[in-house]
């Protein structure tokens, strides 16, 4: 076990957090959506754009130097700026890097964000809809996969679900509870892409995609973006919003591969979370709400175990107990998550963690007395992970 520096604990705060329009936003590029979310976040913070001197973001998979385009659109130069490449783990890593840059004196106020046009991209033609692929061809496997009809992220994660079910007796009923709980949360969120209730019966009746995953085990294709602004705790005091402290973060990357070792069952969330807990000086019992990277229902079950909210193998019964619901033991993905709010590769999880700790939601959306939120990010061919622990100042 390494010892992350406690000097990074509570030195920075998230002072702005927002999203763009979510869902089906045809005719708007992912860059425009991200700028929309960033403008909203700057307004939310009560800052002027000239106050921003850092940009850490991620672009679409085929992008090069995306942070440069952001600076150009915002009309700013930056003391510190870069684009990240860890897939869905990038968004929390951006907040972590912003914190480190501010602590190091390299920047004072850093904007982080990510935007996608995945709904438009996968609905641009019948062929695009069949392929359901958001990456350019150059990034796809050309052997050891396509010749077997192996395509896409659904199948990759479904392998983990199958193995987990085999080892621990996890059931589709339990996966279904994840989908149903998050849909219920989305119905309280007027911005959410999904507007209709989902029952466990409808979950089971939906078509299978790649078994054991059916339609509602899979996250959404969304046109959407989110952004947050990080600054020092001192600067945060004078700003509009109640500051939300960055208490700890961690990262781990199972680079030996999703198919290696037991990585599809014990994910990189385990080591990423352990680092974040140590930096924060907190543990799973201190967490009041979790915003978990829910690309697929199974990934919520696995990560809840890996973060220590229950033992390995007990994630199914844990979620089936109603723990994830508002008023449950660990209200999770309280804005609907990627399964029902919109899929922005973890960016909206960060935004929701911040919003819950501001205590400005109406009662039906607010996790009562939430003091600590854990946020997770997962991606990069299933093996990159990042964890953020936020707390009320």
């Amino acid at each position: 076990m390494i010892e992350p520096s406690p000097e990074l604990r509570d030195v920075c705060a998230v002072v702005g957090a927002s999203n763009s329009r979510l869902g089906k936003v045809p005719g708007v590029s992912s860059l425009d959506l991200l700028v929309e979310a960033m403008r909203n976040a700057i307004a939310d913070a009560g800052l002027k754009v000239d106050d921003i001197d850092g940009i850490v973001c991620r672009g679409p998979d085929e992008a090069y130097g995306h942070h440069q385009l952001i600076g150009e659109r915002l009309g700013i130069n930056a003391r510190f700026s870069t684009s990240l490449d860890n897939g869905g783990a990038s968004q929390i890593l951006a907040v972590a890097l912003a914190t480190m840059a501010i602590k190091a004196g390299l920047a004072t106020t850093v904007i982080c964000g990510y935007g996608r046009d995945s709904w438009s991209r996968t609905h641009s033609s019948k062929e695009a809809n069949v392929r359901n692929e958001t990456r350019p061809d150059s990034q796809l496997a050309h052997e050891f996969g396509p010749e077997y009809g192996y395509f896409g992220a659904v199948a990759a994660h479904a392998f983990g679900a199958t193995r987990h079910m085999h080892l621990y007796g996890t059931t589709r009923d339990q996966f279904g509870e994840v989908a149903v709980a998050f849909r219920e949360h989305a119905l309280r969120n007027p911005d959410a892409q999904m507007k209709k209730p989902l029952s466990i019966a409808e979950y089971h009746e939906a078509p299978q995609v790649v078994s054991p995953f059916g339609l509602y085990d899979c996250s959404l294709r969304s046109d959407a973006a989110g952004a947050v602004i990080v600054t020092s705790r001192e600067r945060a005091r004078d700003l509009r919003q109640p500051p939300v402290l960055i208490k700890g973060f961690g990262s781990f990357n199972n680079l030996r591969g999703w198919f290696a070792d037991d990585n599809m069952v014990v994910t990189a969330a385990k080591n990423s979370g352990a680092t974040a807990y140590r930096m924060a000086g907190l543990g799973p019992d201190d967490v009041d709400t979790a915003q978990i990277y829910d690309c697929f229902t199974y990934m919520v079950v696995a990560q809840l175990e890996d973060y220590g909210f229950c033992k390995k193998g007990e994630g199914g019964p844990f979620v089936a107990s109603g723990a994830l619901r508002m008023g449950g033991r660990l209200p999770t993905n309280t804005s609907g998550g990627q399964l029902s709010e919109a899929h922005v590769e973890g960016m909206l999880q960060v935004v929701e963690g911040v919003r819950q700790l501001r205590h400005t939601y109406p009662a039906d959306r607010q996790v009562a007395d939430a003091e600590v939120a854990l946020v997770s990010g997962h991606g990069g061919n299933q093996v990159c992970h990042s964890t953020l622990i936020l707390g009320r100042a």
Partner: protein, 138 residues
């Protein structure tokens, strides 16, 4: 989206060319380290166990077991429209490495984790054969 859509054939990286050459002759061969004697996959030119660069393409038993598997119901590529539902499995060979492949010869509901399997070769195109697996007792 034509009816004549062809299944993708492997487009080998330079380091995996010998794998596909052996498969074409219906042999399953993997790189094996001459220093630590372990096998690895996917192919590369140095051993991920000990970083030695001295290795030999070496036949393996072709026997393994299903570590995990999925069943495709959705068609992501028109050439697989007649195949669904089909099983893609991660097969753990007796020698250690894990390979993605299809389990063929049995319906999807006959596939399970830890099912013992053995290799066979499917001649999918002129000069191209891909290793697939069937249950060991078939």
């Amino acid at each position: 989206m034509s009816a004549a859509a062809q299944k993708p054939v492997p487009r080998p990286a330079p380091e995996s060319v010998p794998y596909w050459q052996a498969a074409r002759e219906h042999r399953l061969e993997l790189p094996r380290c001459n220093a630590c004697h372990k096998f690895w996959f996917p192919p590369s030119r140095s051993c991920p166990h000990c970083l030695a660069a001295d290795f030999a393409w070496t036949p393996v038993s072709g026997i393994g077991k299903v570590y995990s598997f999925v069943t495709f119901h959705r068609v992501y590529h028109p050439a697989f429209a007649q195949e669904v539902p089909y099983v893609v499995a991660l097969v753990e060979l007796a020698e250690g490495p894990r390979l993605l492949s299809n389990i063929v010869g049995v319906p999807p509901d006959a596939v399970a984790c830890d099912l013992p399997v053995k290799v066979l070769f499917d001649d999918v195109a002129e000069g191209v054969s891909v290793p697939k697996f069937v249950p060991l007792n078939e």
